[in-house]
């Protein structure tokens, strides 16, 4: 089984459009949306939800006002400024439980926190595991781990060859959680100075965790000089350049229709993404 995770560093470079198209091109795969903060893949794959699960993770402190003597020790020791006027700010609370251990009146308890949902769905392209983190919740990395674990279980159970995941932007906790132990990271970048800056940082994360990477340049014709810079950079780092996709409004039109672009348009964009899948599937 091979797990391909699509990342970018910078947001909005086209990860989800590409994953949606790979979903239509690849056979024998399970799809995973690891961007649990702002999941969009379901908007291209028209899933029907088969299973909905609550995601309980982390804890929040709760003060029993009847027992509290307002001694103030918890406020003094909390390093996250989560207790003010003997009340817990659930958004600021890190869930460390320090306060509950030190309260001399045992007035503080930790309650489990329901921080989101995860789903197993059927799509015409195969099974999809996706999730929705609750509003202003923490632990997106753990929810990503849950999504990946379920995707892996389904792939093993059904004997599927690929897990294809849509990753989050950035380089922090949910990215590390999406990436660690994957077989291949496909970087979708764009020929902008910020795209290049962010690509270099996320490739650093891949190196750090020992995951091999490939690069795909989206909207490459927007700035051909920057495209050449990315090509030179990939050569110097011995990273394979897997595809160069031109700018085309058809990509946005396909999003509006709610279908993968390879099923919407026959042009150069679709041909490049087909070539991209060829490169990924014939390493």
């Amino acid at each position: 089984m091979r797990e391909v995770v699509v990342l970018s560093g910078k947001g909005g470079t086209g990860k989800t459009s590409i994953v949606g198209s790979l979903a239509a091109l690849a056979s024998g795969k399970v799809l995973a949306d690891c961007d649990v903060d702002a999941a969009d893949l379901h908007l291209l794959l028209s899933p029907s939800v088969k299973q909905e699960n609550e995601f309980w993770s982390g804890q929040v402190a709760q003060i029993d006002e009847a027992k509290c003597t307002q001694c103030g020790l918890c406020q003094e020791l909390c390093r996250f400024d989560a207790i003010k006027d003997y009340k817990v700010d659930p958004i600021a609370c890190e869930g460390c439980g320090f306060c509950s251990h030190i309260c001399p009146e045992e007035a503080i308890t930790m309650r489990e926190n329901m921080s989101g949902h995860w789903f197993v769905s059927d799509t015409k392209y195969g099974p999809l595991v996706h999730a929705r983190l609750g509003i202003a919740q923490e632990n997106s990395g753990k929810l990503v781990a849950q999504v990946r674990q379920e995707a892996r279980r389904i792939a093993e159970e059904q004997g599927l060859e690929y897990i294809i995941s849509d990753g989050p932007p950035g380089i922090g906790c949910p990215v590390i959680s999406s990436l660690s132990g994957a077989s291949l990271a496909l970087m979708v970048t764009e020929p902008t100075l910020s795209g290049i800056h962010d690509l270099e940082r996320v490739l650093g994360v891949c190196r750090h965790f020992g995951v091999p990477a490939m690069v795909c340049i989206n909207k490459y014709d927007l700035n051909e000089e920057n495209t050449r810079r990315i090509e030179d950079y990939c050569r110097s780092q011995e990273i394979k350049l897997a595809a160069k996709i031109p700018f085309d409004n058809a990509v946005t039109e396909a999003i509006v229709r709610g279908v993968p672009v390879v099923e919407y348009a026959d042009g150069a964009v679709s041909r490049e993404i087909e070539g991209l899948w060829d490169v990924i599937s014939h390493p």
Binding site: A38, L43, E94, L133, N226, T252, V256
Partner: protein, 288 residues
């Protein structure tokens, strides 16, 4: 006044809006731009920055004095993040999992745990094209952005206008960045992706009780669903930026919109006036 720039979806134009808003206001206001997208800070790509100072961001992690430790296991028991384990005669710490809460060292009955600093990022400051500039940078390979964001936000200027460029998404790094703002500007694009993630971002902003408005970027492609949603939810669209290859090309070269197309300066000043009107009206109604 603190204005944060956020979006659920990445790549909608937060950096474009933050940098151009800051530059458009610099002639009439004292402006400070804080790049709190510490995983991928990009404002510096668009500005001629002159960094004059910096401070490393540390998180305190436990250091065990093996001579004093009796392997009682109390530390492992209180750690909510599994960052300490006692295995036979050894106490193992996993600094990357530690949130720096300090429970283990405080609660160790033998006083065998002290804290040492682990660097996870840096905050830098200086000038940039006539504005004050602050940016946080998370070290590559590190997972936790919030401590770096928290440190960067200590540099917020309470006198002038502080503009905070936030990370994308809706979870803890975003909350850390926008909390305490007087106004949150949500940048989106007119597609089902833009709408889906805008709805999530509005949820986060409303949970924090922050007033918000929308900048609609790349208008002209896509559909009307974002505009319909904003009308329904009574969220003002304060600025519309069309899909324009010239704007995209300037962006690709690291040139801000107000610098590359100076006619946009007035529009960003207008955007600020729109924000100010809402913030003023809100503070008047709160006083009443």
């Amino acid at each position: 006044m603190i204005i944060s720039i956020a979006s659920g979806k990445g790549g909608t134009g937060k950096t474009l809006v933050a940098t151009s808003l800051a530059l458009a206001l610099k002639d009439s206001q004292k402006v400070r731009l804080l790049d709190c997208d510490v995983e991928e800070p990009n404002d510096h790509v668009f500005l001629k920055t002159n960094i004059s100072g910096s401070e490393p961001v540390f998180i305190p992690v436990p250091k065990i004095d093996e001579a004093k430790c009796t392997r009682c296991g109390q530390c492992a028991e209180v750690c909510a993040f599994n960052a300490i384990a006692v295995l036979g005669e050894h106490v193992l710490t996993f600094p990357q999992l530690c949130h720096g809460c300090g429970a283990c060292s405080y609660l160790c009955p033998e006083k065998a745990i002290s804290e040492e600093k682990r660097e996870m990022g840096v905050v830098e400051w200086g000038g940039a094209d006539g504005i004050d500039f602050v940016q946080g940078k998370l070290t590559v390979g590190e997972a936790m952005a919030p401590p770096v964001i928290r440190t960067a936000k200590r540099h917020t200027d309470s006198d002038g206008i502080s503009i905070i460029d936030s990370p994308p998404g809706t979870s803890c790094p975003v909350v850390e960045s926008i909390e305490g703002s007087d106004f949150c500007l949500l940048v989106t694009e007119p597609t089902p992706f833009g709408l889906n993630d805008l709805v999530l971002a509005v949820g986060t902003v409303r949970q924090l009780g922050i007033a918000c408005g929308v900048v609609l970027n790349r208008a002209g492609v896509g559909d009307n669903s974002v505009e319909d949603y904003c009308r329904r939810e009574n969220i003002p669209i304060l600025l519309t930026i069309p899909l324009d290859t010239e704007i995209a090309r300037l962006y690709s070269r690291g040139i801000t919109l107000v610098e590359g197309m100076p006619e946009w300066k007035d529009k960003f000043v207008g955007l600020f006036e729109g924000i100010k009107e809402i913030v003023d009206a809100r503070s008047r109604s709160l006083k009443r």
